[in-house]
């Protein structure tokens, strides 16, 4: 488990930031993205896959959450 930060990028998409390793990447897909349920599996531009325990959609971004690395680089 690692702390990650999800923020809105300038192009309107989501970006992923892992402070511990200073890794920043675009989020290409997020499993749940509704007001009631947000999170689940997220896929990154570099091929990495992380899992965030689904929560109600955050009122605003960025938000720091715990995430588990499922697959991929780093």
């Amino acid at each position: 488990m690692a702390n990650i930060m999800v923020r809105k990028s300038a192009d309107g998409g989501l970006s992923f930031y892992l402070p511990k390793r200073d890794i920043e990447d675009s989020i290409t897909s997020i499993e749940f993205d509704t007001p009631e349920k947000w999170g689940g599996e997220i896929r990154l531009g570099n091929g990495g896959v992380y899992f965030i325990d689904p929560i109600p959609a955050p009122a605003r971004l960025p938000i720091s959450v715990r995430a588990r690395r499922v697959d991929g680089v780093e």
């Binding site: 930031y17 402070p19 200073d22 890794i23 531009g45 570099n46 938000i63």
Partner: protein
Amino acid sequence: MSELTREQAQALIEEVLEVYPEKAKKDRAKHLMVNDKTIEQSKKCITSNRKSVPGVMTQRGCAYAGSKGVVWGPIKDIIDISHGPVGCGAYSRGGRRNYYAGTSGVDSFCDINFTSDFQEKDIVFGGDKKLAKLIDELEGLFPLSKGISVQSECPVGLIGDDIEAVAKKKQAEIGKVIVPVRCEGFRGVSQSLGHHIANDAVRDWIISNRDDKAFESTPYDVAILGDYNIGGDAWASRILLEEMGLRVVAQWSGDGTLAEMENTPKVKLNLLHCYRSMNYIARHMEEKYAIPWLEYNFFGPTKIAESLRDIASHFDDKIKEGAERVIAKYTPAMNAIIAKYKPRLQGKKVMLYVGGLRPRHTIGAYEDLGMEVIGAGYEFAHNDDYDRTMKEMKDATLIYDDVTGYEFEEFVRQLKPDLIGSGIKEKYAFHKMGVPFRQLHSWDYSGPYHGFDGFAVFARDMDMTVNNPCWGMLKAPWLKEEESTGELKAA
């Protein structure tokens, strides 16, 4: 030297790597690349932020240097204790000429070296008592300081001193902010982790200090982060922001004060000049206080105008008009500078190897002068820095990460640039090779280079370096051709 093709550039890298043993070669190959603008993500072709290969000459610093020298040192009214042996502090004591307005030793402390000067007995018995005593002494001698930071050097982490406990106790006693910073030099692979640790310490001990205090804010409040006021850079930037109608609340590590930092969570926009060393705290403020942040670039008129418009786009029409007014006001002066220097510098080739932001930020300024950057690299960048750099650089230029002394010299020998911009450790090697050189960490005792005023100084400095007649006279006597020695004898 004519421009290289991609193949030639790749061949050059391979030729340079030839001398290394197999393992080192494999490792170093990952840090060198030929730029390809079609690639979006640098990590596919360059590795960064890794441990340097033992045995090569690297130009990196340590985490302590990143924290003490870069982030904390230039905050003028905080006393930074170099906690540990005396030596480490010497090289991080305002050596980059972070200017400040104030009286040294009275209300400003950037250029004084405070150290707990560890001796053998402090290593054996621990240094906590000494630290407490030192803080009392500082309080007696420098009562106008606003806070104290304890910058741990390597031994402090090794012997397991509890500087946090001392800091807490003393903070309660003297009623000033005392920040323990765990930036021991052995952490991480370069000074970069020190920046991160320093940012985290600011986050934990400073940023929320005034959360429930009233603050008279305006809709136009901004803070300048990551401008280290080298030779007055931040001042040359600040006046532009103020001229366009913004109010600069804080200047952080460049003529900044503790109070300014504590007030930063009240601003509307954080302006980030050096992304590498200050993005951490900007991200934190974005999450906690919903303050957006923006990277800007105040080198050279093209980038300054771009940045001013970018900054203005976060505000209303008044500021947008202000930005246009500022750009219009300075354009004639900038055109005059370009008219004067461009003919003297047109087509000259530059190679850069610096720290946090300059290898990409100065490219625009060189291009304004008609110069071309043919190689760029960073001492301690991460992949996000290279992502940004690749977009600024031309195709088939060289990009080198944590370049070794040997590689850099070899690249220069082959590419024959007209100017090198790098640090003090490279300076004299290239002087001896007779290559024009500017020290781009401290502006070679010049500056400011930021802002419109800074560009005037930048252009003049580049001209007087590149076109200086001295470079042709630096050939070692034994390398001179026969006939010229003959002539000398005859004369």
